[in-house]
Structures are given as C-alpha cells and as structure tokens.
Amino acid sequence: MGEEIGVRKTNQRGASPSPRTPHALLSFFPVWQRNFLVWKKLAAPSILGNLADPLLYMLGLGYGLGQFLGKVEGVPYLHFLAAGSLAYSVMNSATFETLYSAFSRMHVQKTWDAILNTPLSLTDVLMGEWLWAASKSLLSGLAILAVIWTLGLYADFALTLWLLPVIVLTGLCFAGLGLMVNSVAPNYDFFMYYFSLAITPMVLLSGVFYPTNALPDWLAGLAAVLPLTHAIELARPLILGQSPTLPLLHVAVLLAYGVAGFTAGLTLTRHRLLH
C-alpha cells in the first residue's frame, strides 16, 4: 500500500506549472482580487452611487429638519445624524454587494461555478466575497467619514479614528447576513423582502434618525436586538467625543451576527451549488 502511494506521488507531478497549495491561509485572495479589479473599472459611478443616498439623508435631514429640532441629546441634529448616516451607509454598501452583486456572480454570470472548477473551494469563494463586501463598505464608510471630518461634525479627532474598526466590523456583520440571504434567493425580486422586513425597519428603529430611548418599551426592546443599533451605539459616542458604553457587548453582537450569517450562508450555498 505504501508503495502504491509512492508510485502515485511520482505520477502526480508532470510538466505542469506547480499547483497551488490548497487550503493556504490566503487562498480566498484571488476571489477578492477578481471583484476588486472589476470594481476598479467602474469605481467612480460605484462610489458616487454608494455615497449619494446616505449623504443626502445626512445633509438634507441634518440641515433641513435640524432647523426645527434644535439640539438632540445636547448636540446639533446634523452632528447627531452623522453616526447614524455612517452606519447606514456601511450597512447599505455591504448589503447591496452581497445581495445584488454576489447574486449576479453566483446565479447569472456563473462566476462562482467557474471558480469551483479550479483548486479553490466554496469556502474560499464565500470568504473572498465576505471580505470584499466588507472592503467595499469600508470605502463607503470612509467617504462619509471624510465628509464628517471636513464639516467638523465631530468632537475629538483622535476618537473618530476608532470608527475605522467599527466600520470594518459593521461591514462584516451585514456582509455575512447578506450572504445568508443571497444563498436562499431564487431571483433578484426576493431581495425586496429583506429590504422591507429587515433593512428598512433597522433604518427606522435603530437610532439613525433619533435616539432609541424615544421609542415605547416594546419597540425599544426590538431595536435592542437589531445589529444596526449596536453599530450606532459604538459610532455615535465616538463622533460626539465620548467613549461607548458596553463596547464589548456591541462588538460581540456585531461579530455574532456576521459570523452566524456567514456560516449559514456558506452551509446553504453549499447545499445550493454543490449538492
């Protein structure tokens, strides 16, 4: 038997280019890189599209509605809105990427099928997609953060640097959840359910536009389990010059949603594509 294996091993290496080592730590990287190179071709409209929506919310509501509201929680409304807009922008970017864009690659263009015929595994594909969506949402977050810095909507610059890991974590959280939704989607229309039943309620209940303590108890209870609430609970104090209360709790919730979403997405996609 030992001999047999030895013989096989000598047969394995032909004149072919040396094969990659499978299960290498960074084996997902070519998948990330593929998405990055496609994005690079269309970067300008993509950034603009991602930025316009949250920016308009922030500036339109901040300046417009801010006139009537005066101060919210002791700060001008625009300053209050900045953290919510940041988290909303990151969530949106990660969600769109893992829903519509990933669905195109998985279902329409069959990019994932093509990759699965190479030494890469489905785990590599989804890991690449997960980190890519998080990278893209980091860009969206940075764009909003640049506006926040430029307009001086913060209290302490050094504290706002802590927003960078918060943005990454928020991106991973919503990218993981998005991959789970993607894995069970029969078509693009299906994503409307996720937007109507998850994303929109989160935007309205998680403290983007007003403090969650303004809600009646039962709604505040619902808001407390939504991941966007925890992203904002981290981001808002950092922008307003305070340190977040219970930071580890918020980090843990975001991580848990992200990892659970990714794991479910991987399992369900495996069933979908490799069954």
């Binding site: 280019p17 094969p19 070519p30 069959k110 990019t111 093509a114 990759i115 190479t118 490799l274």
Partner: protein, 304 residues
C-alpha cells in the same frame, strides 16, 4: 492502467428517491479522447461533477489524476481544465483579463500567465483579440475562449461538458480542430455530447450512458459493428404506411420515427430496387452511424 487519469468505481448518486448515477465503472486511458454520450437527464453532467469532486457520491469511488476525490479535490483540480456547459466568462473583463484572472485561481503568477497568453489566444483563434471585451465576442469566440481558459494551468486532463452545444457548423469545426490539437499534444479529454457526429469524429472511446448506467462502451467503429446492421435506408413519403409491410420482408430490421422509416440491413440492394418502383416514396441510403446505435440502445422517445 495505474496511471489512468480518471477512474470511477461503482459510482452512485441519488437525489431523493431517484438514482441519477447508478453504479458506474469507468476507466479513462491517458492520451485518449473519451466521450460520454446520453440523452438529456441520463446522468452525464452529474458524473462529471462527481469526478471533479464538486459533489459527494452516495457510494463508490473517484480517483482523479491519482487523487481520491473529493478529499484531495484541490490537488487534483490543479491539473484539470474544465469547459462547462454554460458560459461563465467574466463579462466585465477583456479576453486577456479573463485568462489572467482564471490563472490566479490556480495560484499562477501574473507573469507566468502573461507568458502563456499569446499561445492560448493563438490556440483559440483569438490572436489580436486580447484587449477585446468579452461581451463583444460571438458565441463561437466565447466558447473558444472558455476552452483557452481551461488550458491556463496546462492541465493533463480536460473535461468538456457539451463543448459545441449552440454553435454554428463553422464554429463547431474550429472547436473540434482545437480539441484534436490537444489530443495531439498528449492531453486526455473527457467530453459529454449529444452530437453523434462529434463523438464519432473526436472520440477514441465512447460510453453510452442512459438512466444513470453505462449501457455500452467501445470505439465508435466497434460499437457500430457490434450493435447495428451496416447499411441504412431512410424512407419518407405519403404512401409510407402502405409500403411498410413490404419493407419488413426486405431488410433485417425496421424502425419508425416520426414520418421516417429506417430500414437496417446488411444488403440494401433489394430494398432500393423495390423503392425505385415506388414514385411516391423518397429514400436516402447511407452507412450506419453512431446515431443509429445510440437511438437503438436508448430509444427514440423524447426525454424532457
């Protein structure tokens, strides 16, 4: 036969209550082109997916380039090229970028793939098209690019799932030419097709697969010799129904399909002599081919 590029043993795959691949045994010889023929839903694509380690068998074993699948999928697939049935080129990339991107999935450096690009483009008849966008290519060009993409890692075995489906005759000939060049270079090919002429032209060996089982295996010529009378007379015309009874006396076997009567025989002369007396009937006399074998063995009913 220890260095057979692909060996399937008792391979079985069930979906729900249905056995899609039913105890298939198949050994492919190195340097040959092996064809997997079967009607739609016969289990061809499932067999290929099992061979590549993309899905797990319910029973049996796959050994691909000396690796047990699916446990060693990564190592085995590093030396396999795949041409899938459905186009999966990256529409956002140029021709060259498609090759470079695909090479990265094999861990090949940009420089290494760049070196190979001119040869690959030449092989695919796409020289000068390196910077063209994939969306600007014709169906035939896309297929050839898919073939070139499958060669980016200089594979020992190339697996092709219906490589010419949907192509016009000119494009099919170009693909065939490419595949013959690969065989000439010593590559092993495994292809599925339901074009009998394609199988007859390209394949050294053929397995006809139906309802998840391999029903016969052999070279195209041997299969024709073993399973079918050498001559066929196809008869069409309005008075065919009346003449049918007469035909049964003149040839060894008759089969009806639609409005055509197929007369199978070793000696076609009596049939032809008789047909020349029938002005209302038209006929075509030809040697038997693989399609006749295929239809005899798998039946003439539509499968989907």
């Amino acid at each position: 036969m220890n260095n057979s590029p692909l060996r399937l043993t008792g391979l079985t795959k069930r979906y729900g209550g249905q056995t899609v691949v039913d105890a298939i045994d198949l050994t492919i010889a190195a340097g040959q082109c092996h064809g997997l023929l079967g009607p739609n839903g016969a289990g061809k694509t499932t067999t290929l997916r099992l061979a590549l380690g993309l899905i797990e068998a319910d029973a049996g074993q796959v050994e691909l380039l000396g690796h047990i699948m699916p446990a060693e999928s990564g190592l085995a697939r590093a030396r396999v090229g795949v041409v899938p049935q459905v186009d999966s080129l990256d529409p956002d990339f140029t021709v060259r970028e498609n090759l470079l991107t695909y090479g990265r999935y094999f861990g090949l450096s940009r420089a290494k793939v760049e070196d190979r690009v001119p040869d690959l483009l030449d092989f695919a008849g796409l020289t000068g098209k390196g910077d063209a966008s994939v969306t600007s290519l014709s169906g035939g060009m896309k297929r050839r690019l898919t073939l070139a993409r499958a060669l980016v890692n200089d594979p020992d075995l190339v697996i092709l799932d219906e490589p010419t489906t949907g192509l016009d005759p000119q494009a099919r000939h170009l693909v065939w030419q490419g595949l013959r060049r690969l065989i000439g270079k010593g590559k092993t090919l495994l292809l599925t097709t339901h074009f009998m002429d394609e199988a007859e032209r390209l394949c050294d060996r053929i397995s006809i697969i139906d309802r998840g089982r391999i029903i016969v295996e052999g070279s195209p010529r041997d299969l024709i010799r073993a399973h079918i009378e050498p001559q066929v007379v196809e008869v069409y015309g309005d008075t065919l129904a009346d003449w049918r009874v007469c035909a049964l006396d003149l040839c060894q076997r008759c089969e009806s399909a639609g409005e055509t009567l197929f007369c199978y025989t070793a000696d076609p002369e009596p049939v032809i002599a008789e047909l020349d007396k029938q002005p209302t009937l038209r006929y075509l006399h030809r040697p038997a081919n693989l399609e006749d074998v295929f239809l005899k063995l798998t039946g003439r009913d539509l499968r989907d």
